[in-house]
Structures are given as structure tokens and as C-alpha cells.
Symmetry: C2
Subunit: 144 residues, 2 copies
DNA sequence: CGGTATCCTTGGTGATACTG
DNA sequence: CAGTATCACCAAGGATACCG
């Protein structure tokens, strides 16, 4: 059983690579910021003047997010020390979320990314259009 | 049918938000760079001295990637004008991929992200550890 | 070698309902 | 209000097999 198929070896390599990826901080960060809601939550938190928002305010500020996703996102962020969670045990429980300094810092990075995106958006869009054009033209022969 | 449930309104809001996201260049960029293989491919391409690699070289340089994913990634990148695809119609077909200037530029951004990740890795890790510790402690009560 | 088309498996995503 | 647990769904990811 020592010699598996090429596929098995590939799977093995994949596992090894996966392990390697675990060591790579960049992957973690990329995974974190690419999370659909993370960028938005951080943005909203940065946007708010007081810098802190309640759970439901967050939900209200982000249309289309489910409690599950909001909670999940918040917990991840909290776990990574990016946001702080403050519970005020009043009668109607009140929980405030705010960016930690580290979270703020991440926000800056996000800003950089945003800036890049805005700067190069046209170029990408142009490239995409011309590519699609070429592709459509190539495929059009069969359709007509 | 004018007044749907709250869920329906939520879905509606979600759709609207989704549409908004389409307009936001940042989302596109985030989606692109967060793609599991994009970052790696760009990195490998940047890493290579000649700046250009053949399809199978790429596959070899990235253990654990399937042809499907490699091709898909490459095509996306090409579509967005991030990499160039050069076909040399020799007898054994030869295709070289290289970063375009724009792709190079993206590589720089990726470097920034990488730098940030490496700089703050410890902090995040520390936060995570202490969070996990607290969580484990909280759950331990039932186990004992 | 380079690439595409197909099928299958996984898990992320979201809705619902229930608790404190 | 804040949050959790469960269920159902879809789409991305990957393996396989097959063309040029």
C-alpha cells in the first residue's frame, strides 16, 4: 500500500500544502478580510462616530445580514482581537461592539485595498470588457 | 401580496445590498485576491525570475492544485488583465503565463497585505489564544 | 502538453425557531 | 434585545475522464 495512485499522492501534497498554508499568516489574514461581512462590519464600525455600535444597530446598518452571520462575524473578529465586546447587563441587555486598536489598524489596511481597487478599477474593467468581447465573438460563430 | 413577511423584506434588502456590492470595486478586488489560489499564483509568478511560467510549471510549483482550479484561476486573472497568456504553437503546445504590469501592481498590494499579516500575526495569535482559553474554561465546568 | 466537460462531495449561507 | 441551535440549500472545489 506504499505506492498509491497519482491521485493519492496529489491528495497528500494537498494536505501538506494545506498545513503549510496554516503556517502562513497571509492566508489567515486573506481569509479573514475576504469574509463577506468582515469588511463591511469593520467599515461600519469605523464609520460610526462613537466607534461603538450595538448588536441590533449593526444589523440595521447592514441590510441583508442574518443574525447568524452577524454573530459569527462578530465572534471571529472578537476572537482575533479585532473588535471588543462590551456587555451592559441592564434589563434589556445591551451589548456594544467597537474596533480595537488592532482592528482600527486593519481598517487602515482595508482602506489601502479600497484605494487600490478604486484606482485600478477602470483598468480591470477595460480588460474584462475586451476579454469578454473576444470570448463572445469566438463563441458567436456557433450561435449564428 | 404587497406586505410580505419580515423575512421577505430582509431578502429584498439583501438583494439590494448585493446589487450595491456589485457596484463596489472593493468587493470585486477582495473577492479576487481572497480566491484561494490567486494569491499563490501571483506570488509564484512574481517569484520566478523570468516572470513567465508554463502551465505545468505552475501546476508543479503549486502542490495540491487541480487543473480545473489552475485553469480557472488563470483565466480569471487573464480576464482581469492581471496575467498574460502566450501560446507558442510548437508540436508539444507551449503556453506561458506572465504577470502584466497591472498584475505586478496587484502583487505589490499583496505584499503590503502580507507585510501587515506578518507584523500583526503575533497580536492576533495572542488574542486568539486568550479567547480560546477563556472559552475552553467556560465550557469546562460542564465536563468536570 | 494544455485544456475542457462532467460528476460528486463539502461546507458555507441563510431562514426558522427557541432561550435568557 | 442578544444570542444560540437546527435544518435546508446552493454553489464552489476537487477528482475523473476525455479531446486537441
Amino acid at each position: 500500500m506504499a505506492t498509491q495512485t497519482a491521485a493519492a499522492r496529489r491528495a497528500d501534497a494537498r494536505a501538506a500544502y494545506d498545513a503549510f498554508l496554516q503556517e502562513c499568516p497571509t492566508s489567515h489574514l486573506l481569509a479573514r478580510i475576504s469574509d463577506k461581512w468582515v469588511g463591511i462590519v469593520v467599515g461600519v464600525l469605523r464609520d460610526s462616530e462613537s466607534g461603538s455600535l450595538r448588536y441590533s444597530d449593526l444589523g440595521r446598518a447592514i441590510p441583508g445580514v442574518s443574525q447568524k452571520m452577524l454573530t459569527q462575524t462578530l465572534r471571529s473578529l472578537e476572537r482575533d482581537g479585532l473588535v471588543s465586546r462590551t456587555v451592559t447587563p441592564s434589563v434589556p441587555a445591551r451589548v456594544d461592539y467597537a474596533l480595537t486598536p488592532l482592528g482600527s489598524n486593519l481598517g487602515c489596511l482595508l482602506s489601502d485595498v479600497k484605494r487600490w481597487a478604486e484606482n485600478h478599477f477602470e483598468e480591470v474593467h477595460a480588460a474584462r470588457t475586451s476579454y469578454d468581447e473576444a470570448t463572445t465573438a469566438a463563441g458567436a460563430g456557433a450561435g449564428a
